[in-house]
Symmetry: C2
Subunit: 379 residues, 2 copies
């Protein structure tokens, strides 16, 4: 039993991109959110609930919302994707990437070259969770110059080239079989009736101190739709881990994906990264524990990416996951895991509710590892 | 406000096929269901709720369930699909097609050539709704001899040849945009509090007499898992219509699909057929009413398929839809509709919850129209 966030509205997570001399630049917002550990993060162009969009709270208009009108925009990506199914109840977001001519942004927004944004992923807690989740949905048929610039994995570009035409049926069949095996039935119970949880003066928390707490915060904000509000937030009791094992096999870049069951997913199970350990939780299986040890003990030359990145600060308070991407070789996938060409994972992202939020975060870190050397953080 | 069927278990709808001299034969069950208007229909090999599968009612084992073990079977199709989102609440079924060696079936089951099964679609109320819904998910890269035998639309085979490699991104983007436009929020209310409905001695029905009624039936059955039971059933007050407009364009076979919102779909909207009018309901839009008139007034030579087919008799009582497939040309898609190459619709069926039950029924009627001339019903 656990509390979950019920937010049935479809929110919009959108990034506007514009052609630039180095490929594309993205319009990022330097946005402060109450749960951010370090103030502002590089957030999507628009990140808005339907209530925000319709100004249900009587607040200010959402800047740049008009760029994401599917009828008039040059739409690159438009799909519906899940959000952390461990704490959100059947939540779905609309994820969009649109192409626009370049323009001078208003205060609080700026164009950032995608290559630089990828490089900034190596900085802890800087690139917002939703920015990562949206960019992962891009059609990653990278321009040659973009890949070769920092390419550590030539097989990445080669494998991605097939992402629009690869046959997804074997992977979809496998995921269906995993879904059926793990499908569960949830019922809602009254909050005071949560067995194993207690309400203290400042939190709803588990008796055993694991997992997360629900806390209340009072927010005063500048530059937001409204100037202040109170809200509950999710605060994990520890750092989580998002890990991705990658492997060059037969000239193809493969990712070790996990079929992750989460109670809040609309179809029970989605493709997750190799390791998905929410802050305060133990590994979910012996296989995951073994793979975690393997990834964290990787020799330095095998580690492609290692940084601590935040969860979305609008609902999560100081929730952070260490993101590790590393090369491992010569290992069969355990039960519930599957080696997938990166093209297939990108292909599945075209369709809704197949690839979870943590996998999208891991995927963009992989791309960051390959196309962007750290700009500011010595390794 | 309306009553809906809440059946959160994932059921299995599976058809076993075996290679035959004419391509493939399917193992059909002659199954009686309480809602069937004419006794038995040609049903899938296995059609079982999880409770059936696990014998929760203490009943007999489900025959041939063991053929559908994904770990050992030669799996052709394994996906999760919705069921009538107008009356089922977020219901999902596992849809499987497996290939087996031929064997002598037990009483009540027989192998039927797929070409014959397609031809039998032209008979009213004979091929079960779930048989249609499962067969539509097959990879319709038809063997040459199968297509040329009765081919009225050579563009069908040509278009289907691209179904595993076509780029589904434009269609997926369009569907996402439609989903967001139509997304709704539903809340559950107590059954006695349904405004506009009343409970009589023998039914829960709408005050205005439209739509459907919920009735109770007492069933005595032979050859089923248990010998008798009582259950509520959905009884529409009138015949429905499932219509599909098809068009040869640039040598490709295109289908006019509709983005159909249904309250019980897990992601609000799926691709539906051109016309989807549940029994007792009016057309949902002016565009649908106009297209309905156009389809029903088609000249005889343009009508590819016209038969009355039943909904699933386990939950629906005497629920039937006229299925019409006709060629129409030179007409732009109205708002909310889209011309899609048949390859794209088949490609979307690889992924879960994209193509609704009525569209699957219409799709298999199209295939029936093309590959099978009526076996028994004079036209």
């Amino acid at each position: 039993m656990q509390p979950m966030v019920d937010q049935p509205e479809i929110g919009l997570l959108g990034i506007a991109v514009t052609p630039s001399s180095r490929g594309y630049a993205a319009l990022a917002q330097a946005k402060a959110e109450p749960g951010n550990i370090n103030g502002v993060q590089l957030s999507p162009t628009v990140q808005a609930t339907r209530s925000n969009q319709e100004r249900a709270h009587g607040g200010r208009a959402v800047p740049y919302l008009e760029l994401f009108d599917a009828a008039t925009a040059d739409v690159i990506v438009d799909s519906r994707q899940s959000e952390h199914g461990g704490v959100f109840w059947k939540k779905r977001n609309r994820v969009m990437i649109v192409r626009t001519p370049q323009f001078e942004p208003i205060e609080g927004f700026r164009w950032i070259e995608l290559a630089d944004l990828m490089a900034l992923l190596h900085d802890d807690d800087l690139v917002h969770a939703d920015t990562r989740a949206v960019l992962a949905c891009a059609p990653w048929t990278l321009p040659d110059e973009f890949v070769t610039a920092g390419a550590r994995l030539p097989s990445l570009a080669r494998t991605l080239a097939g992402s629009t035409t690869c046959d997804l049926r074997p992977l979809a069949r496998w995921l269906s079989a995993q879904r059926t095996r793990r499908s569960s039935v949830s019922i809602s119970v009254a909050l005071p009736g949560l067995v194993g949880w207690r309400r203290t003066t400042d939190a709803l928390k588990r008796d055993d101190g694991t997992g997360f707490e629900v806390v209340a915060v009072s927010v005063e904000a500048a530059g937001r739709e409204v100037d202040g509000w109170c809200q509950p937030m999710i605060r994990p009791v520890d750092l989580g881990v998002v890990g991705l094992a990658v492997s060059d096999r037969d000239g193809q870049l493969n990712l070790l994906m996990q079929a992750c069951p989460e109670p809040g997913l609309v179809d029970d199970v989605e493709l997750g990264p190799t390791i998905q350990i929410a802050g305060g939780d133990p590994p979910r299986s012996v296989a995951e524990a073994e793979l975690l040890a393997l990834l964290l003990d990787s020799p330095a030359e095998a580690v492609l990416f290692d940084a601590v990145l935040s969860d979305e600060g609008g609902r999560f308070l100081h929730s952070r996951c260490r993101h590790v991407v590393a090369l491992i070789d010569g290992r069969d996938a355990p039960e519930g895991f599957r080696w997938c060409p990166v093209s297939e994972v990108v292909g599945m992202l075209v369709h809704s509710h197949q690839v979870n939020m943590q996998a999208r975060s891991a995927l963009v870190c992989l791309l960051g590892a390959v196309v962007g050397e750290p700009l500011s953080k010595p390794k």
